[in-house]
């Protein structure tokens, strides 16, 4: 499978990365090189093979459903580009 420029732009929009026309053209070539190369996986017979879900055989650890941390709004927002009174500030979303 290979991608055209329109697909590159669509993926870039899905990934929320702005790309210029030149970048989209360059990325098309690079992505196709990578996609061509991974095509070789088509040679592998994976009938009746389970997909890996966990690399180490282990049961998922569970913990008690209790509060172990919290009440640290200032710490949470400390690194944000824009905050006010413990809230993150974003551009207007709803009119």
């Amino acid at each position: 499978m290979s991608v055209d420029v329109a697909t590159v732009k669509r993926i870039a929009h899905l990934a929320r990365i702005a790309v210029t026309e030149e970048e989209a053209a360059a990325l098309q070539g690079e992505l196709n090189t990578i996609l061509d190369w991974v095509e070789q996986l088509g040679e592998v017979d994976v009938a009746d093979v389970e997909p890996m879900t966990s690399v180490v055989a282990t049961t998922m650890r569970k913990r008690r459903d209790e509060v172990t941390d919290g009440g640290r709004a200032t710490d949470v927002t400390a690194n944000a580009p824009e905050t006010e009174d413990g809230y993150f500030i974003v551009p207007k979303v709803v009119e």
């Binding site: 929320r16 990365i17 991974v38 592998v44 994976v46 997909p51 180490v56 640290r72 580009p81």
Partner: protein
């Protein structure tokens, strides 16, 4: 060489002994490293130096040594890869998008090191978000390898993504360093710089507080100047952590107990699929030499087959970008780091991520987004995860047949020139990890140990792969390679008086 710089030449084991005997203080040891770091800024191994914090920590170590309450790493100065969150200190994964990020918490691995008395010298350079094999994708510029070829003064890459860690350890700018490995990012730079690097079993070191790249593959581990030093660091870095649900509840043994033990009765496998067409003869020869060293130490050498080896790298370049595209979705200009305004909120996201991520990171996010997008999931991601099952099965069958560890080359070549891959396709750079990536795909432990120099005077490394949670065997066999090959260190051409 004066007495002060001499202290940086000590191994961790030797430095600990000197500190306990009061031959020198932790402050003096830290000072020696801070001076070495200042004189070696040309290597660009450190992004941030933290001398004040280092001296405070060293003074606290001196007090604990005087009180007789010294920890196993008391007073040992370490460099920390920028991927680890360190409270109140630059932790930006060498990316522009995390500009100004100073976490309010400490990663579990670094907490373990400070608990045991280690001293932080600063944050080490790396490929952006650990994506790269040459440390040329860092927002903070490339790292130079302290090694140079005998034939030329041209700068070489230290490997990646833990290039700053490897360069700093090899150039005596820290006694040891933390690193991380998703496809070879500890072992490949260790091999390129003549240092020892181990990627532990998935789940052995907590991932809590480490910036995520590909969560099912990422593992932390040390880079050090000797196998024993790597074992000492692993003793502290490994733990069972309730904050990481993939941390596995297996007790941490004392890895240093393996150092010097015999290999009698041990079976070492040589996988025929690692013999590549066009592989440099020096790599092939070093591999055979390594097998001979292990045999001399009492091990039985057997040929084995890992038939799905060649599919590990292409499958990795589906799984890792897919996971990365999801993990890196959090960098949106809202909660931390860079923000670039746009017409509306989506425009702000797009502009922020366009300006904040470098070319390699964007490439991987886009590949990951594509393979996970509607209609392609089965053809790519699901298929890759099935191939991954087969890769792991190959290893399981070898271990079931009685093989204790597997010996391979660590890299397909010695360190290459800085900028020499600039016009190569992304896939050519990815091939650097051809011998290391299988280990991440199967979640196994792997160690890279220096095995001497090539004809140009550059280090070559060998890799040992072990059973899950059997890092001990890797330290044991790794020490045999170190004893046979000898430790290597570069000429200090980079020093500024």
């Amino acid at each position: 060489m004066d007495a002060v710089t001499d202290l940086t030449r000590l191994t961790i084991a030797e430095a600990r002994e000197g500190l306990d005997k009061k031959s020198f203080s932790a402050r003096e040891l830290t000072q020696a490293y801070l001076q070495a770091m200042e004189a070696a800024r040309d290597l660009n191994a450190y992004i941030v130096e933290t001398p004040e914090r280092a001296l405070q920590m060293a003074e606290a170590s001196d007090r604990r040594i005087a009180e007789g309450t010294a920890g196993p790493l008391e007073g040992i100065p370490l460099g920390i890869k920028d991927l680890f969150c360190t409270e109140g200190v630059h932790s930006q994964a060498a990316s522009h998008i995390l500009d100004g990020f100073e976490p309010r918490y400490e990663s579990t691995v670094t907490s373990n090191l400070w608990r045991d008395g280690a001293v932080m010298l600063g944050k080490l350079n790396m490929d952006e978000f650990a994506m790269g094999s040459s440390n040329e994708t860092s927002y903070y510029g490339p790292v130079k390898n302290p090694w140079r070829s005998k034939e030329s003064n041209a700068d070489l890459v230290p490997g990646g993504s833990s290039g700053g860690s490897a360069s700093a350890v090899a150039a005596f700018l820290c006694a040891g360093a933390t690193a991380t490995d998703t496809g070879g990012s500890i072992r490949q730079p260790a091999a390129f710089t003549g240092t020892v690097g181990i990627k532990p079993t998935y789940g052995r070191c907590s991932r809590w507080g480490i910036v995520a790249f590909a969560s099912s593959l990422d593992q932390a581990g040390p880079i050090a100047r000797s196998v024993k030093d790597a074992a000492i660091l692993m003793n502290s870095m490994a733990s069972v952590d309730p904050k990481d649900t993939t941390s596995v509840d297996v007790p941490v043994p004392d890895y240093t107990e393996e150092i010097g033990l015999s290999l009698k009765g041990m079976k070492i496998g040589l996988p025929k699929e690692y013999r590549l067409d066009g592989m440099p003869e020096e790599i092939e020869r070093k591999w055979a030499e390594g097998a001979a060293w292990l045999k001399d130490a009492g091990a039985e050498i057997v040929d084995i087959s890992l038939p799905h080896t060649k599919y590990a790298l292409p499958a990795y370049y589906i799984v890792a970008p897919a996971e990365a595209s999801s993990n890196l979705a959090r960098y949106d200009g809202v909660r931390y780091g860079l923000r670039v305004d746009g017409e509306d909120i989506a425009g702000m996201y797009e502009n922020t991520r366009s300006a904040g991520f470098g070319a390699e990171v964007k490439r991987r996010i886009l590949i990951g987004t594509y393979v996970l997008s509607a209609g392609y999931y089965d053809a790519y991601y699901l298929k890759a995860q099935k191939v991954r099952t087969l890769i792991k099965r190959d290893f399981e069958q070898a271990f079931e047949a009685g093989v204790d560890a597997i010996l391979t080359p660590a890299t397909p070549s010695a360190a290459f020139g800085l900028g020499s891959m600039a016009t190569a396709s992304p896939v050519e750079m990815y091939l650097n990890d051809i011998f290391t990536v299988t280990v991440n795909m199967a979640g196994l432990p792997g160690i890279a140990v220096p095995a001497g120099l090539n004809a140009s005077g550059l280090p070559l490394g060998l890799q040992l792969i072990g059973r899950p949670f059997d890092e001990s065997t890797l330290f044991r066999a790794g020490q045999v390679i170190e004893d046979a090959a000898g430790r290597v260190s570069p000429e200090a051409w980079w020093k500024v008086a």
